[in-house]
Symmetry: C2
Subunit: 193 residues, 2 copies
């Protein structure tokens, strides 16, 4: 998505070997118009696939997911994150390890909001190591829901997330921007799709 | 806002004396079309006031805030919550006590995203005891920003939040739905505005 790539070039900050900060428009400060355009693009990529629900994880996934839900005209469910591992009969739960924060969170979705009748689109802001995506897949699998695909805002394709997701059985993974590498503090996009 | 009141009547669940669960359309599962209508209503209520930025707190504030930002055509900043109190030269911070969770979180906004030039609209999903709103006010005050007002999705007007906010100097507080009481498990709206 050219508009997103241009914004990453302009406002993204490359820190160290593999960190891209996009907190000026995506995950701290948010550009609502860009989110709307991204939502429309997700809807275009996943249209006519019978999606009944968009699933994401708080907090950075919410804005793009809500805009995707708006364009697809379906509800959005954001999984809650918690440090404490609470087992509950009322919720699907999965553990998600964050390499950035070096800690494990439990993510959970109330069973009232995900069922075997659902065809879900998984949305997240980043695909790097794939842990959040695998966690969402585990919740959907527990519910017996059908996963239609995954929509990612920014994929770091030099990291193993996509491969891990494919090995876990996920298909139809679309990323709006794919980063092949960081070179001299600059972002190099992977133009293949 | 009649559409929101109708939805609360239909899908809200009253638990005990003072808890309203709206997790089927607002703060776990989200209805994007309702969020869009709420964003438009916030924009109508606060138009022509020179707003430069919408401020909210993760995670439940993000969806209504992004839709308000979309309608007002300004960026949205969501304050990050953290259990650990980290002092930083790079961020404005405030402590927020949650009566529901009986614990204190620090909320923080990077100093790059809030300044004395900003005219901010504070958005949150609930106004009950007012702690989150006072926390956001503290961040804006620290930045020297001008607070134009506060937009609340659901106010429990039998709780002291509005009074606390007014005493702290906040003006122009608009709530899309004001709940006067829960009676026999039913919501009674406060029709005054």
């Amino acid at each position: 998505m050219k508009e997103l790539e241009a914004r990453i070039k302009e406002d993204g900050r490359v820190l160290g070997a593999d960190i891209l900060k996009v907190d000026s428009f995506l995950n701290h400060q948010i550009d609502p118009k860009l989110m709307q355009a991204m939502g429309a693009e997700f809807a275009r990529l996943f249209k006519d696939q019978g999606i009944t629900k968009v699933i994401t994880v708080e907090a950075s996934g919410i804005a793009p997911a809500v805009m995707a839900g708006l364009s697809l005209d379906v509800p959005v469910v954001f999984a809650r994150k918690s440090k404490s591992r609470i087992l509950s009969d009322d919720a699907y739960t999965a553990d998600v390890y964050s390499y950035t924060k070096q800690s494990t969170n439990q993510i959970r979705i109330d069973k009232r909001f995900l069922s075997a009748d659902d065809h879900v689109l998984l949305i997240d802001d980043f695909l790097a190591n794939g842990q959040a995506l695998l966690g969402m897949k585990a919740l959907a699998d527990d519910a017996g829901a059908t996963i239609v695909g995954a929509g990612i805002v920014i994929e770091k394709s030099f990291q193993p997330g996509r491969q891990a997701a494919i090995e876990a059985g996920l298909t139809n993974i679309h990323s709006l921007a794919k980063i092949a590498a960081f070179e001299d503090g600059q972002v190099v996009f992977d133009e293949a799709n």
